[in-house]
Each structure stands twice: as C-alpha cells, then as structure tokens.
C-alpha cells in the first residue's frame, strides 16, 4: 500500500502504525495486568479524588456519610477564600525562594567549586551535603526546629540567644531548611551535567581571552541548560507538594504564615473536617504543578528537538 493509497477521499490520513505488524491481539492480554494496576491504583483514586473535590463531604460531621455532589461550590468558595490566595502566594515564595533559586544556585556553586577542588575536599564536602539529602524529611524538620527556636544554636551563633526565629521569621526559616535539604540533589545533578561539558569549548573561549564569568555564562551554562531545566522541574515538583517539613516545623503557623498549599489543604480537610474543600485545594495544587511542568517542558522543547 502506498502513501497515496492511505489518503482517503476526504483527504483524511488513515492512521497506521509503523510497527503495526508487531501488534497482535494476544499482546493486549499481556498488558492487562499492568493496565489493571495503573487503573486500580492510579486512575481510579485520582478520579475519585476529583469527584470528592466537587462534593461537600466532611471528615466528621453530618456530611461524613450523607454527602452530595455540589458542583462548583467548592471552586467558588476557593475563589473567595483569602487564606487560599495567601496560601498560593506563600507556596510560590516557598517554591521559587527555597527551591528554584536557592537550591539551584547553591547546588550549582557547589558543583562548580567541586570541579576545581582537590578530590578529597570534593568527596568530603559532597558527603556532608548529601547527608542532609538522605536524612528523612522529618529528621530535617526536627533539626531545624531545634536549631531555629529560642535557645537554639542559630541564636547562639549570631549572639542573640533569646531570639525565636521560628516564630518571628517562620517563612524564612522553613525556606532555609528546605534549601539546606535539597541543595545536595541539585549539586549531584549539575555535577553530572558539568562533567558533560566538552573541555575544548571552554579552552577555546579561554584562548579568546574570555574571563571565568564570561565562560560560565556564555559557554558552560548554555551547554548544561537542559540539565538545569530538568533539575528545576524536579525541584519545583518536589517542593510544591512538600508537606512534612513545614507541618512538622510550624503546622502552617504562626497564624497562617507558613500555610503553603499542602498544609492548608490538610488544615481544611483534617482540622476543619472540610474533606471536600480540602480535596478541591489538592486539585488546585495539582493544576498549578501541571502548569509549571508545561512551562518547563516548553522551555526544554528546543533542546529536545535538537537532541532528536
């Protein structure tokens, strides 16, 4: 069959897979277990969560069992909820400040310094930084909780023992804790990226008289741009859904000063019993994550095309 024969009378291409000969009906049977697992353990729970987000279900209370579909009532409530919008703002500060900026910059700095450092220094610093990353999140939360509260080591270090940084600057402290924990990941990813930068390119720029910073910004960073973008995408998705660290350190407080979206979702669902509304916030969080992912992937598209 030629390509011309595949064009129908209306000009619509009759789709035919290039590997059509390999696809047999019997193979569908082999895919069924995996499909069943995906449907049962992923699609059904997500679908059910989407449904619950449009109901008035309560964790406890008269609507715990006798709940009903309420259409867009939760969405409308969310649109008029000042705490939700404040929570969105806090989430963006948390993700951008402690995730995208701090972790990427610190991770890149460590990776670059590691390139020039003695192997022993590189190994030692790398091990210490990675230790923060491999610690369970709850341990990191308690370390920073002790470190930053009144009488903690942070106050001792800067000579203000009575300062209670966790209460007076809670968002800054949780951002620092998150950056401290996540920097190792960036360092590892970007170190791998830097190892793939061809030395000739750097040497050529050096022969042209380019300074270190010019070479960094004009040669190295453009070459590792796909790695940087992937790193930022992973950091964003990891940070935007972070609950344990913030909840264990502040429970979203004082007031709502650190109530990022995952924490606010928990407060609504488990402390105010508004399970339906909490699920709607979860869906909003999912949509924000999806939008950010699309933005990153669009940014990556030229590189992906080039690499094809």
């Amino acid at each position: 069959m030629t390509a011309a024969q595949e064009i129908g009378a209306g000009g619509r291409a009759r789709w035919r897979r290039a590997d059509a000969d390999k696809v047999k009906i019997s193979t569908i049977g082999w895919l069924l277990p995996a499909a069943a697992l995906l449907i049962g353990l992923f699609l059904v729970p997500v679908g059910y969560a989407v449904y619950l987000g449009f109901t008035n279900i309560e964790l406890l209370g008269p609507l715990a069992q006798d709940y009903s579909f309420t259409g867009l009532a939760n969405v409308s409530r969310m649109a008029h909820d000042p705490v939700f919008w404040s929570s969105v703002k806090l989430t963006l500060i948390f993700v951008v400040g402690s995730g995208i900026v701090a972790q990427t910059v610190l991770g890149l700095a460590l990776a670059l310094l590691g390139q020039r450092a003695h192997v022993m220094v590189r190994a030692s610093v790398g091990s210490i930084v990675v230790l923060a990353w491999v610690l369970p999140e709850i341990c990191v939360a308690f370390i920073w909780y002790s470190f930053s509260q009144a009488g903690g080591m942070l106050g001792e270090l800067i000579g203000r023992t009575s300062s209670d940084f966790l209460s007076t600057a809670p968002l800054l402290i949780v951002c620092l804790a998150n950056a401290w924990r996540g920097t190792a990941f960036s360092m590892l990813v970007l170190s791998a990226g830097l190892r793939n930068v061809p030395q000739e390119a750097d040497e050529a720029a050096q022969l042209e008289g380019a300074s270190y910073w010019t070479r960094l910004f004009r040669v190295t960073l453009p070459i590792i741009r796909p790695t940087l973008m992937i790193n930022m995408l992973l950091i964003t998705l990891g940070t935007i859904s972070d609950f344990t660290l913030v909840f264990a350190m502040t429970q979203g407080g004082p007031g709502n000063e650190t109530a990022i979206l995952p924490v606010y979702m928990y407060i609504e669902a488990f402390q105010f019993n508004a399970l339906g509304y909490g699920t709607t916030i979860a869906l909003a969080l999912m949509i924000i994550g999806a939008i950010l992912s699309i933005v990153y992937i669009r940014q990556l598209r030229p590189e992906l095309r080039r690499g094809r």
Binding site: L60, P62, Q251, Q271
Partner: protein
C-alpha cells in the same frame, strides 16, 4: 517445532503459578476483616482503638493499664480475643485516624476511646451507637449512676447517650510560691478577678527577670485542648459564659464576656506577661507548663489538674518532689469576682461503641470492665483525671494522691462547665485558638479585629447563619 514448545509454555506455567499464588493473597488483602467477626478458629475478636501515649502520664503507665485490662479480659472472656489498637501522637492524630477508620465498616473498631469534645462530631457522623439501653432500665450500672448529671451530659446529645466518661480534667491556677514571695505577694494567693492575675504577673515579672510570668494557652497547635485548658476558662468565668447558644443553635462570635476574655489575652501579651510563642506554639505545648514550672522558668500557670500528678510520679517527664511545698493552687477567678467566684472548663475522655459493631453487647462488656472502680481509679491516678464516678473520687488513694493539689482540684470541679458537645466545636475551637495565637504574635491587634477574624473563620466553614452576637 515441537521441541520449542516447552520453552514457550514454561513462562505461561510460571505465570499461572504466580497468579494462583497471588490471587488468594490479593483477595485476602482486599477483603479486610470486620471488627468482632469470628476468626478461623472460631474465636471472636473485639477491637479497641485508643491513644497509647497521650492519655496517660507516661507510656509506661499506659502499657501498665492496658496490659492489666487485657489480662482481666482474658480471664473474663477467654473466647473473645481483645485486639488493642494503640495509636501514637496527640488526641488530634488519634481522632484523624479514627475518622478514617470509621469510613468503612470493615476497618471500624468496636470500641473507641475519644475526648469528650469529639463525641458530638462522631455522633453527628452517625458513627456511634446510642447506649441508652445499657445505662438505663431497672438496673443501671453503678459507675453510671455514680456520675454527676453534668458529667453524663458531656456525652449525651438530644437525649441519646453516645459515650461513657472515663475521667475528666478541670482547671485552676498553679503558682510558684518562691517567685510570688519575692515579688511581695501575700501567700496563699487567691486572685479574686482577672485584673488580679495580670497585676500579680506584672509584679512577678519585675521581681524575677527572665522568668515567663504567666502561662495561658494560645494558638492552634494543641487543637480544642487549648480551649479546654486555656481561653475556655475565661469565657466560662466571664459575664456572658456562652460559647454555643443552645437556644438558637448558633456560635457566639461577639459578647461582652468574649471581648473581655480576648482583652485579657491582649493585655497579657502587650505587657509581656504571657509565655513566648516558642513555647506556646510547640506541637507539644500542652505538656510544657509542668516542665517549665519544675525548671523554674514559669511563675504562674492557668492550667490543668493533671500537672501535679506529673510532679509526684517519679517515672514522669517532670518529677518534682518539692512541688507540694513550692507550688500554690487557687481557682481561676471569674471576670469581676462575680458568683460563683470561680470558673473551670471541664472535659475528659470517654469510651464509645461503633454503630456498625456486630457485637455491641461484648463491646459494652469492655466498657464495664474499663469503668470498674479499680480501673477507673488507676486511670485517674496515672492520667491525672478526676474520676467520673463520685464514689471513686472520694476514695482515700485518690484524695491523698499529690497533696494538696488533688483535693483542691476536686473542689474546683464544682465550677466545672463542659465544653459544647456540638459536632462543629472543633471549628469554633480553631477560630478561638487562631485569634489567641494572633494576639501572642501581634498584641497591637484590637479585640474588634480579633472578633472579625473569628467570625469570618466560622462563617466560612459553617455559613453566615451559624453565628450570633450576645449583648
């Protein structure tokens, strides 16, 4: 061709074998098991969900009490296995776990231990079995008839008894005598109104630099417990002691008493008399006052009757033998010293039976066992509770425990006012705790602003028609 067949067939045989092995496992995992359903051996199981490290003063005491119950149960009902589902964390953690377990009858325990403040929420969810048939009739159990009407009412909603109280906490003022003496306060100190408390706290602050003058719970970290052991005592002692108006079924978000209570918080924090947010906002804030008093860091606490039971217990987190001499006790005064002269919220823990339990009679047997005088007494001594049964509360081992505090707190229970047992109390508590926490952070906020925040929080959750103003 035939020679290759075994090679093709082998994976299929393996797959068939794997499916044969996995399928029963998956089915068993999916099927779950009902609370007191008969097991494979014909032995029935009764499941009890409880807090294993929040109710008792130490984990060791919790184990001691529950192991004792398990032994007694095995003697009384050898053919019914008692499955004790101890849960860690705070009361809030226990309630969240319970709320999730109760969503399916297959995971619902037969008996649940719960704070009385949650009985309304669980009963309004239709999760609890009314116990009227067990507690009424010609021969009601003595532990029930021995409870004051007010204690019975804590778990009675619309005439239905949903839980049986196992022990209560009331409140009072505990103060460090040495610090007050240093400030020139005549002892024993007996504050007659709220201004007295602030005045003495200010004097203590001046005479004892570096000490936290006054502990009054604030913020959301401890959930409804912060109302029970904090602002609830002020509201109940105010000129309008109403949180939930049972006549209109509305929550009070503005009243002279509520304004005065919030003004107390504002003054306390504005004058630097309150405890720091680093202590108040801790997730384990509820347990801090007895520890801070023992360490000499806290002068006065508006606190709970269980503090002294921690001090007398050498196995507790804060044993303090000198407390009986160094710490004084007084009732929380009313706002202006008006009758009855003292105020105290009262709330505790109770046992309830799940509506879906297939064996309610056996579950009731468990409650009867837990409420036996010796078990009730041990609960009271090891948890710092006032026993619900008055006759147990009059027994010498209880009255003479942690002198002079136990007798004093027993006396203050006459002022006891239960917290509202409405299903939405946690929402109201959250709003109250939010504004007390806001004052701790920003004492320049006005009382009117705090009331607006409160009203908004409640109406956002429960609707505009759920709140009212009392004149």
């Amino acid at each position: 061709m035939t020679a290759r067949m075994p090679k093709i067939a082998r994976p299929r045989r393996r797959l068939t074998l794997a499916v044969a092995l996995l399928l029963p496992t998956l089915l068993a995992a999916c099927s779950g098991s009902s609370g007191s359903s008969p097991g494979a051996t014909g032995t029935r199981t009764l499941t009890v969900l409880f807090s294993n490290n929040y109710v008792f003063n130490s984990d060791q005491l919790a184990n001691q009490w529950w192991n004792g119950i398990a032994r007694q149960w095995a003697r009384l009902y050898p053919h019914v296995k008692l499955d004790l589902l101890g849960t860690g964390g705070t009361d809030i953690d226990l309630m969240n776990k319970a709320a999730i377990l109760f969503r399916s009858p297959s995971t619902t325990p037969d008996v649940i231990q719960l704070p009385t403040t949650y009985v309304g929420e669980f009963s309004s969810s239709n999760y609890l079995l009314p116990l009227n048939k067990f507690v009424s009739g010609p021969n009601p159990p003595s532990f029930w008839t021995g409870m004051p009407k007010g204690v019975q009412a804590m778990s009675t909603i619309g005439g239905q008894v949903y839980a049986v109280n196992a022990g209560n906490n009331d409140s009072g003022i505990l103060y460090n005598k040495i610090m007050l003496r240093k400030a020139g306060i005549p002892l024993p100190w007996h504050p007659t109104n709220w201004q007295d408390i602030l005045k003495v706290a200010a004097a203590v602050k001046k005479a004892n630099p570096g000490v936290y003058p006054l502990w009054l719970a604030a913020g959301v970290a401890a959930g409804p417990t912060n109302v029970l052991q904090g602002i609830g005592n002020l509201i109940d002692g105010s000129v309008t002691p109403v949180m939930f108006d049972t006549k209109t079924n509305k929550w009070v978000v503005d009243s002279p008493g509520l304004r005065a209570a919030l003004q107390f918080y504002r003054s306390m924090f504005k004058e630097g008399l309150g405890s720091p947010t680093s202590q108040l906002f801790r997730t384990d804030a509820v347990g801090q006052p007895p520890l801070l008093m023992k360490q000499g860091k806290l002068a006065i606490a508006i606190g709970s009757n269980w503090y002294p039971t921690v001090w007398v217990d050498p196995k507790s987190a804060a044993p303090w033998a000198a407390a009986k001499d160094d710490v004084g006790v007084a009732p929380v005064p009313t706002q202006n010293g008006q009758a009855p002269g003292g105020a105290s919220t009262i709330g505790g823990w109770a046992f309830a039976i799940a509506r879906s339990s297939p064996n309610a009679a056996m579950a009731w047997n468990f409650i009867k066992l837990a409420e036996q005088p010796q078990n009730q007494l041990n609960t009271a001594l090891w948890s710092g509770f006032v026993p619900p049964d008055l006759s147990v509360g009059q027994e010498a081992p209880f009255v003479n425990y942690a002198p002079p505090f136990q007798a004093a707190f027993n006396d203050y229970s006459k002022y006891g006012v239960p917290l509202p047992n409405n299903g939405n109390f946690t929402v109201y508590a959250r709003a109250l705790n939010t504004v007390t926490g806001d004052f701790a952070q920003n004492p320049n906020m006005s009382v009117s602003q705090a009331l607006t925040i409160m009203a908004n929080l409640i109406t956002q959750q429960l609707g505009a028609g759920s709140v009212e103003t009392l004149k």
